[in-house]
């Protein structure tokens, strides 16, 4: 995918997530949250859960898939939560090209 010249935060969050996964390879959901929250200036439990849900949506749509899971010891999303490491799928790349114009 060609690098975007536009400011990444002008993209809808899901497009940015796909771009990050494409450029940096597989990432844990808390790593994605760290980057996304800084770039989009969001914080707090509400947005944390919104971003986690959005990552689940991308995976359930087949755009990404989870390659590794572990249990949160309370550091990231809450004790006992499942942490997922996501990678982008070909279908996700295709959609990112067609729709996000990445």
């Amino acid at each position: 995918m060609a690098a975007r010249t536009k400011n990444p935060t002008e993209m809808p969050i899901k497009c940015r997530v796909l771009q990050l996964l494409d450029e940096k390879g597989a990432m844990w959901d808390y790593e994605l949250w760290e980057t996304i929250s800084k770039e989009y200036g969001i914080s707090g439990d509400y947005w944390k859960s919104q971003v986690k849900l959005l990552l689940i949506e991308l995976a359930s749509g087949g755009l990404t898939s989870s390659v590794e899971q572990k249990v949160d010891d309370g550091t990231y999303f809450g004790e006992g939560a499942v942490l997922y490491k996501y990678q982008i799928e070909d279908f996700g790349r295709e959609r990112a090209q067609q729709v996000c114009m990445l």
């Binding site: 689940i56 359930s60 749509g61 087949g62 249990v71 499942v82």
Partner: protein, 358 residues
């Protein structure tokens, strides 16, 4: 949850919560979708529409008057849906994402706007036509056929593989559709000299409902994949409101001389608006719940459970509006819903993994 929760236990616990909420959202969608047909039908009995007897305005063209009424009602429906969705987006604090999605109009939002053409001026407009002439139960039942259209497009356009189970579902849905439309009764009704001139528009509207929604789903899907669902629906209804207010209302008034503007102001009365607000709120949150259920239980299960709106609408019509629909309609609804479940429900059995089996 102890600190030493095993990974398998944690996944199972999370999965349970996901599936529970997925079913709750899908069921909410079915209930609200079914309820929408009540205000959508009753508004046709509110002033100024309720005071009409065919021909609606004596001395004028009944077809034009009926279609103008359907345009005005669908316009108000779209406006109220959009208002409730904007409130919803505001409550969720997602205006930033809405602006980002709109800004990327040429690549993202255009798909929602394309979908909105099929969803609004075809499917919702057709549903209101069917509700106005034939009734809420028929309008609801007719739309049950939409998965057949969606599957046909998926096959032709996206080259998706269609499994034997899906074919069985399609056959049952078509069978249900034939029972619902009942061509024999339809022809008899249409040939009845006492039938209102606009009767054929009711049946046409029923067909428009399933065609439009079937196409909308296929078109909007690609943009929805990379959008926040709450935002996607809102952008879609912005498109629909634009079509009605900026294009269709002025154009039909100018080209066909329909009484759009007198009707718009005549409809701005409390009696009619109460029902239009009720239609707007049920429709807005039916869409919201629908899209919320998909990632949690999968598009297939989400759609199958949402199809329960059909029997629910029939029950609501019997409860609130009185009168039991014809037996073939009830049988058709049951057959079509069974077909939808066969087609969708067992798709993507491994819900925790990818739910797209396409």
């Amino acid at each position: 949850m102890g600190a030493v929760t095993s990974l398998a236990e944690a996944i199972k616990a999370e999965q349970k919560v996901k599936v529970k909420w997925g079913f709750i959202w899908a069921l909410w969608c079915a209930i609200l979708w079914g309820l929408w047909y009540i205000p959508g039908t009753v508004v046709w009995y509110a002033p100024p529409y309720g005071e009409w007897a065919p021909p609606l305005f004596p001395g004028t063209d009944p077809l034009g008057e009926f279609l103008a009424a359907a345009v005005v009602i669908t316009t108000f429906n779209a406006v109220w849906v959009l208002i409730f969705l904007l409130v919803w987006v505001g409550v969720l604090g997602k205006f930033g994402e809405l602006i980002r999605t709109l800004r990327n109009f040429t690549n993202i939002s255009k798909w929602f706007w394309l979908g909105a053409i099929c969803g609004g001026p075809i499917a919702i407009f057709g549903s209101f036509m069917a509700m106005g002439i034939i009734g809420g139960a028929f309008a609801a039942a007719a739309a049950l056929v939409y998965p057949v259209v969606g599957a046909t497009i998926a096959k032709l356009w996206y080259k998706e593989r269609i499994s034997p189970r899906t074919y069985l579902g399609i056959v049952l849905i078509i069978l249900g559709g034939i029972l619902i439309f009942n061509p024999l009764d339809m022809i008899a009704q249409l040939q009845n000299p006492a039938a209102p001139e606009v009767l054929f528009l009711g049946y046409l509207g029923g067909a428009m409902a399933f065609l439009g929604w079937g196409i909308e789903g296929a078109v909007a899907a690609r943009a929805l994949d990379v959008s926040d669902p709450d935002i996607g629906i809102t952008v879609r209804f912005m498109g629909e409101v634009f079509y009605w207010i900026i294009i269709i209302c002025p154009l039909t008034a100018a080209l066909f001389g329909w009484n759009i503007y007198p009707l718009l102001s005549a409809t701005a009365n409390a009696d009619a608006q109460v029902w239009l607000v009720a239609a707007g709120i049920t429709f807005a949150f039916c869409y919201v719940s629908w899209y919320k259920s998909f990632p949690l239980i999968g598009v297939g299960r989400g759609q199958a459970i949402a199809a329960l709106y059909g029997p629910l609408a029939v029950i609501f019509v019997i409860l609130f509006l009185g009168g039991v629909p014809a037996w073939w309609l009830i049988l058709g609804v049951i057959v079509a819903v069974i077909g939808t479940f066969i087609m969708y429900y067992w798709e993507g059995a491994v819900v925790e993994e990818t739910t797209r089996e396409m």
